[in-house]
Symmetry: C2
Subunit: 148 residues, 2 copies
Amino acid sequence: MAVMVDWWGGRDLRPMLPKIFFEHFGGTSLVAERGDELLGFLVGFLCPDHPGEAYVHFAGVHPSFRRAGLARDLYERFFALARAQGRTVVRCVTSPVNKGSIAFHMGIGFVMLPGDEEVDGLPVTVDHGPHGDHVVRFELRLDAEKVP
Amino acid sequence: MAVMVDWWGGRDLRPMLPKIFFEHFGGTSLVAERGDELLGFLVGFLCPDHPGEAYVHFAGVHPSFRRAGLARDLYERFFALARAQGRTVVRCVTSPVNKGSIAFHMGIGFVMLPGDEEVDGLPVTVDHGPHGDHVVRFELRLDAEKVP
């Protein structure tokens, strides 16, 4: 909670991480630390409604530790964990304003899913919620993923 | 989303229900409808980190249809569903300001769990999040529940 506004460049996304994610989805979530310092985290879950699917709800990296492969490493550990539980696809969404996030997901092998409309050339879906925000939806097939 | 502010007496709790709950936890969530009209709903899940536990994240009933047993019915269906999946305890939290919710949970057999401090004579735990809100934590043991 203490780092989120800073890590997201002033956007306050804290309400998207209610405490239940930490209390109940710890087994599919990851943190990267150096000593006591939090460098990154990923909160995900195995989708109960969709037996083949895993979902990354939230992931972030300390601004001073970006572009060093840390987020990719968190995702790859999540992919391995999901694959070990029989999952074949990982999905996530991001905001169309978050160009860094979009580039990151494309860079590690996610593809954009078709949307309901287009914003800035991106396929977007209208999310529900107070502001009717748009999201870009991503998917990565674990069975097609190239293992180095 | 359209009913929430009204059903919660002006409190805007919409950010607590991101779309992922409806996309991924439908199998453990319930709606009560009359024709096309939504009368009540319950969003819950089986806790992946705690194999014996099920959690009610959110539940609400249309203000004009309260005090008729609808919420109790939604909870009892959730208890049955959780029990059928081998769960032995159901937990949930509510705000200490929501006296109706506290009375409801006590009335259907939940007990309050100890908190970190006390507010208005209630045991409360500090939740994380933007406002550091207090919550009252409830538990109901399915194995101890009296079946009519």
